[in-house]
Symmetry: C2
Subunit: 309 residues, 2 copies
Amino acid sequence: MTAIYAKMAVIGCGLIGSSIVRAARQAGCVGEIAIAETSAQARSRIVELQLADVVTGDAAEAVRDADLVVFAVPVLSMGAAAAAAAPGFKPGATVTDVGSVKGAVAEALTAACPDGLFIIPGHPIAGTEQSGPDAGFAELFQNRWTILTPDPRTDEPYRAAVARLTDFWTAIGARVEEMDARHHDLVLAITSHLPHLIAYNIVGTAADLEGVAEAEVMKYSAGGFRDFTRIAASDPTMWRDVFLTNKDAVLEVLGRFTEDLQALSRAIRWGEGDKLFELFSRTREIRRGIVAMGQESAEPNFGRDRGKH
Amino acid sequence: MTAIYAKMAVIGCGLIGSSIVRAARQAGCVGEIAIAETSAQARSRIVELQLADVVTGDAAEAVRDADLVVFAVPVLSMGAAAAAAAPGFKPGATVTDVGSVKGAVAEALTAACPDGLFIIPGHPIAGTEQSGPDAGFAELFQNRWTILTPDPRTDEPYRAAVARLTDFWTAIGARVEEMDARHHDLVLAITSHLPHLIAYNIVGTAADLEGVAEAEVMKYSAGGFRDFTRIAASDPTMWRDVFLTNKDAVLEVLGRFTEDLQALSRAIRWGEGDKLFELFSRTREIRRGIVAMGQESAEPNFGRDRGKH
């Protein structure tokens, strides 16, 4: 295909950044690729993997002449990364990111970037528990949603930049949706941030449980726990930043979760089997809705390899 | 191979019962197979699937002349199922089960069965979120642990019965471990029962969250929530029974989980990033321990198909 952007710069080359680079090159939707990465160790690995035309520690150098700049660093590093890149931006470039929180990132990018750029925050709902440039792969975004949270601006040049960025994500396999940043942060609080918090928490609780050795927990983890350990293996810096920057929405959904859990706890204590049965039947229907939506299509043997009794 | 048991009776033919039948037939480790199933609909399906030599609604008929009797019904139905089978038991037969709670089941089986049987409660740590005779498959127990919780009896005939049952599980692919019933119930409370309770709870919380449509939750469930929906699709009756019969251990680990979650909530509210980072780094190490133990060997593309950011 013809390149959608003549030059793309990716700032931060971990799982997501390196997947974008691989996917864009495979799709042929960008011309030149520059990567800025602050870790010298990661940089030499990126060179070995031949991921980019330019590999540098200097964000301003990477973004020079780039039509698309993608910030793929932890959420709390976005502001500093954008400030480092600021001297190099090409006027009229599109600036986006891949952070899991959008309100805080939009503020940080807007504060750090000069005028005359098209800032369009974004979030691909895709990933694994792995980190680093070796963890990425070109197919990561296939049939996954990428949410863009553009400004409410309706002027033609900005909307044209949004359309172009949408084409880019589509070219690398994603389905794109626009959303208000605040709404994004609430939706993701329940579909992603709270699940991660709970997974981290239960793995910690298990490790501290006297009377049960850690080796036993690992050995019998096929009972359901194993799913949580995978989620709880996600990047610590990335997730610390998510919870610190999406505090209000996370505390809100966490409060509701805890309230509901207390009610369940009480139902168990008092032997109210009908309440348990009613909830468990309802949640089973919700799963069927997700399967019916085809979200499981990539996982044909899903149930067989995993699960529990 | 030579049959380990000349006749096996399986009482209850859902996911686990039908998997045992399929696996035993494939391994050639039993001679005749009889299935007792109270649901007429399931019975005709079992006949269609040609799973057994005898298919009946009468447990006493099924267990007649059986050397091995496996109760594979929900935990709270074990007592009634054993009472129904009681008139038919062959003296000296081995009686086992597959329930996820062992203390309560041992009591129920002991109370309902006549003397002169070898009662050896058991629990294969394997399964999926599916139910019914169609859901089973012969490979379900491959490289999974089955925990037996025999009586502390040390007399030779009983220990010989335990050894024979161990051979049976080994023949159908499982690794077998003996454990005290009470300890089993605590270990499983943290590795399986609490994870299920939490998964059920968060899916319920999400469904009730105003401002976020259920369709949105489903659409963006790749962010981590999807794993929980799969677990929360598990059989409602089975799980209701687990929570009602393993109440003490579940409430104990749930109490610790909630305490830890409150501490995390407080760390988020007060912006204590170092506390979050410390926990998240620790849980990542635990996951590495599980992967190192080879528990993930059946799932080569595990991270790729799933997960989130």
